[in-house]
Symmetry: C2
Subunit: 421 residues, 2 copies
């Protein structure tokens, strides 16, 4: 297989990443660093899209834009009727982003094409590089939006009608920025999809490993819990007469960690990221508390059990203390998406052939790959990050070497997928 | 002793309370009720002071104002050289107040004088009714301010230099409102001090009792705890690599209740009224948490032990989890102030003679009486409140009967104290 082992130009890849990071760049006061703010379908995002399209065209790709604003750059193969090997990701960002999230997958795909061009390699199957619209979901409220429409999980009408916080519709912004393309939004099933992405976590760095072979995206359950108690004076109200909403919220936080530590829910992760009490005064027992619970689990049955047991715990809070009432609101829920064994094997072998240490891991975050997985065999390549893999932050950083290693593996993986029957 | 049993005009007392509540009244949007906003030395407070002085003068009291703005109305006794029996409280309020906090003690004192006048009773000792400046501490930041200066704990210079949030000095506001009186601010030690006040708690109502004989003011310890952890992505960060500041804060809240429930710290009360996490996003492990701890204890040694054990617990949080650090800031601390057995006995006997059920209880909140207790034998009479004794809120309410009962006991108590050798 080593005849299909190719190495990309890491310096050129890095330069592309840095050039794209200038589009929508801002000076981040909190970190003192230069950050990226390129919310989907803003002027900055449109400028980034135009830059990426110019690079695609210079690399000889045939560019099409679909009605969802998704961009595809195509390189023909020797068998024009064969379904393409697809790669890609997104270039929209959160409001305080770094240079790598999403961009590495898009610019990595273009770098693979440049390298194939230089080597004069033609694949059997066509290659396509995709840029999906509004992966972050920060502006219009639904993440993985472009890929979900391409995969048929969400309709074009639903997506076009979404509005940002100012009431501006996504459909209107597509038209305004000129990205309301003519191509049909439903993607013909590719032969396979592989996406290269930064890990956004510390696992690879902690293990001293270069490459992550992603086994799937874990299930996500988000809910908001509101606890109503009774305001009371801290000095004058006997403990036994209190209905302390803040204390009840704290018990939920502590209980969630106990659930995780018990090991009884498989690989459950639980996070309370938002926690607030009212009236939030030193000498008043909280009348109300609000918290969010973010559960992750690679096993849907274990996830369901964890949710049920949390609900049962919330009932005990009400039962134990007259005057406390608890309500919950579902914010989001996605099932575990397992990736394809065959594509994972190609990635692992490519990493091995490049002499790169690799391990299998689950993605904690959502990615376009979880949508495209509904259409074709899919997997992802993770690249390790510095600073515990911090992301959605200007401190987000992967070294030039780490990025090049990831795209080397992407190149070899795509080459082999595109050579498959 | 029943020859000294007098009953006040409850309807007239109530009318005074309602009239004073019109000064600084506002429509409270949150409760739909009429509230009182009479922050110390504002125009509203000055108008309230003028109204109270007019009532004092109409009741035949000789009014003096000291350099701290404290107002004293004096009724001479048969022995003009004897030290007076003093009563009083405050009429300044928090920004969202009811009609009773403080006002009951001031207007109750005036009602006692009116009643003595009508009955033609002259006491051996003089009687004085005090209105202390800035008891709430909301405008200038130090509570029990006027009584603390009168008792010599704080200096006049310190008080005059205090500023409100707009930088306006208390001394300037005294001059502007005309309450920079000529009398010396240090109060000559009275014979005794008794203050009638609403309970601001649920104990009397829960027990079905009319009158509280206050045994003292419990110690108060306020501190702010800041916990620094590490922000991390909820989906991608393994549990064992987290330094979750929000979880640590929740552990503090739960631990404090366990300390209270253990019974190992006497009559400890613990409240976490303020609790916040940062960045406060659903899918980010909190990097920082901030909480306040309000401890109350009638026993200073038990309080000190509770504070030490809490500090030790905070250390274990740091030890258990690399990456967590905890810092604390002292906000306030006052020792337990025990009230005088003799004055408490007079109050309890007066309540009994009036046929009113009574019980002894500790004050959870601070009062002017805790300052005057440094000068002379002191105790307080508590009047029960509705709605769990809610206070600092337009819903604050004690019935006309409850107010009259409290001032009946105040009248008889003052009469007996003023008759003592």
């Amino acid at each position: 297989m080593t005849e299909h082992l190719i190495t990309v130009d890491g310096a050129r890849l890095w330069q592309s990443l840095m050039d794209l990071a200038e589009v929508g760049a801002y000076d981040d006061e909190r970190t003192g660093l230069r950050g990226v703010n390129r919310l989907a379908l803003t002027d900055a995002d449109a400028a980034g899209r135009r830059l990426v399209i110019s690079w695609m065209e210079r690399a000889g790709l045939t560019v099409r834009v679909d009605r969802m604003g998704n961009i595809y750059g195509r390189r023909e193969g020797t068998d024009p009727g064969a379904r393409p090997a697809l790669t890609g990701s997104h270039i929209d960002s959160v409001a305080t982003a770094g240079a790598f999230d999403g961009c590495l997958g898009v610019l990595g795909g273009i770098e693979v094409v440049r390298t194939l061009n230089e080597r004069g390699i033609t694949t059997r199957r066509p290659l396509e590089v995709a840029v999906f619209t509004e992966e972050e979901g920060v502006r219009f409220g639904t993440d993985m939006l472009g890929s979900a429409v391409a995969a048929g999980r969400l309709s074009l009408e639903y997506a076009h009608a979404l509005t940002d916080r100012h009431g501006v519709t996504l459909g209107g912004e597509l038209a305004r920025t000129g990205f309301d393309g003519p191509a049909g939004e439903r993607l013909d099933p590719p032969h396979a999809y592989v996406e290269c992405h930064i890990e956004q976590g510390p696992v690879l760095a902690q293990a001293g490993v270069e490459i992550g072979v992603v086994t799937g995206v874990q299930g996500i359950s988000w809910q908001e819990i509101t606890i109503h108690g009774r305001a009371a004076h801290a000095g004058t109200t006997p403990t036994e007469l209190r209905a302390d909403a803040g204390l009840a919220a704290a018990r939920v936080v502590v209980h969630l960690r106990a659930m995780v530590d018990s090991g009884a829910y498989g690989e459950l992760r639980a996070t309370v990221g938002h926690l607030a009490v009212h009236p939030d005064l030193t000498n008043i027992v909280p009348a109300r508390a609000e918290l969010t619970v973010d559960l992750r689990n690679p096993d849907d049955a274990q996830m369901a059990r964890a949710e049920e047991d949390l609900a049962a715990f919330l009932c005990t809070l009400e039962d134990d203390r007259p005057g406390l009432s608890v309500s919950t609101r579902r914010m989001a829920r996605t099932a575990h998406v397992p990736f394809d064994d065959g594509v994972r094997k190609v990635i692992a072998e490519a990493a091995g052939d490049h002499g790169l240490a690799h391990l299998s891991l689950l993605s904690g975050a959502g990615h376009d790959a979880q949508e495209i997985a509904a259409l074709c065999p899919t997997a992802m390549i993770f690249v390790r990050g510095e600073y515990d893999g911090i992301s959605h932050n200007p401190r987000e950083y992967s070294t030039p070497e780490a990025c090049a290693h990831g795209v080397d593996v992407l190149a070899t993986t795509l080459l082999r997928l595109a050579g498959q029957d």
